[in-house]
């Protein structure tokens, strides 16, 4: 068999953020994936930590002591931020991916409009709501408590 002399040019994970000049919706896509993976990692750690309760009160107290302190408060806040983004953006995506808020097919007449134009108010609204939650969450984590 002849050797393949072509150069593989798939961007890979780097293509989520780099390798070209991209639009804002791509970064929402990337952030959605990263926050999803972050939340998954948190849940795995969460299951391991809380399962120590099955080993008795002393084990539970010890594991709770290991995950306390300012660094873990910051970590929990980041989990909250990831959760706020993933849920609200996820709700937006749920409706968009079922064809709501993306407009109807139109005849393409230059300058072209596309579904991102129809989706823009929803994306901005979601980002605004996320920002409010992030600020309120910061006050709750670091000021009120």
């Amino acid at each position: 068999m002849a050797k393949d002399r072509r150069h593989p040019n798939r961007l890979g994970i780097w293509g989520w953020v780099g390798g070209g000049s991209w639009g804002p919706d791509r970064y929402l896509y990337t952030l959605h994936r990263i926050t999803g993976l972050g939340l998954l990692a948190y849940f795995l750690v969460h299951v391991v930590v809380t399962s120590s309760r099955a080993l008795g009160e002393a084990a539970w107290e010890a594991s709770m002591a290991r995950v306390s302190g300012p660094l873990f408060v910051l970590g929990e806040y980041l989990v909250f931020v990831a959760f706020a983004f993933h849920v609200i953006n996820g709700v937006r995506l749920f409706f968009a991916e079922l064809g709501w808020g993306i407009g109807k097919p139109i005849e393409p007449i230059y300058p072209y409009r596309n579904c991102l134009d129809d989706q823009r108010p929803w994306a901005l609204g979601a980002l605004l709501l996320i920002a409010v939650l992030v600020v309120v969450g910061a006050l709750d984590f670091f000021v009120w408590h």
């Binding site: 393949d4 002399r5 072509r6 150069h7 593989p8 040019n9 798939r10 961007l11 890979g12 994970i13 780097w14 293509g15 989520w16 390798g19 070209g20 000049s21 991209w22 639009g23 919706d25 791509r26 929402l28 896509y29 990337t30 959605h32 994936r33 995506l93 968009a96 991916e97 079922l98 064809g99 993306i102 407009g103 109807k104 097919p105 139109i106 005849e107 393409p108 007449i109 230059y110 072209y112 409009r113 596309n114 579904c115 991102l116 989706q119």
Partner: protein
Amino acid sequence: MSNGNLPEQIVFRIRRFAPGRDKEPVWKEYPIAYEVGMTVLDGLWKVKETIDPTLAWRASCRMGVCGSCGMLINGKAGLGCNTQIAELGTAVVTVAPLANFPIVRDLVPDLRPLFDAHTALSPYIIRADTAEQEEPTREYYQSAEQMEAYLQFSYCIKCACCMAACPTCATDPVYSGPVALAQAHRYNTDTRDDGFEVRKEVLADEVGPWRCHFAGECSRVCPKGVDPAKAIQLMKRQLVADALGLRKKPPLAQPVEKPEGIERRPGIPEAPPPTV
């Protein structure tokens, strides 16, 4: 000569790759004289004619119809022939081959993955009355509203710009990509077509639309305004509705009965006989 805000001379920064000679693509720079109205494709011709005749790319119509000259221009996928250098507004124009496809040479991508995915989704009218299709006697009736449901997606020229921009295509070689999926939806929505069940079998698999998470890059870069992201999301709605038994299947378009007792207006010639 007025060049607007651009200097007399601009630099084409081109990603070159020669199979057998280069292990990795390399960037090379070519200064050329800018002329008003020059497109990126014109610039490539200028480089080839005056500096380096070995530069390779694919192009044909030079008018945004054939879809051959898709490339990354200043990082954004687009057609070389309908991208004005003045529109870019930069004195350095970077040109690279479309991402996510193997490079054959310089700016020539191997688009076989696109055409394989496209073929797998049966991008043509499927219906039982094959005799009428082979030897058409009448026209199928379709209302303006029915046509508008798919017309936008039928403007696709398969230039592959959308697939080069898609972040899912960047990581997932199995995913069919925006071209094939938009075309599958184009035919699924056509009231003359009865092939939804055939395409559904393919779409239900991992090649289907479920790996799209609405990054929207395909629609942003499409040089024909096809809006593949919209087609893919509408397809998801159609597939979900079908899975829930809620899909409203429009009646299959039927050949229009030839009106009887109507005289052709004088001066209007008869339609020519079918050629296919």
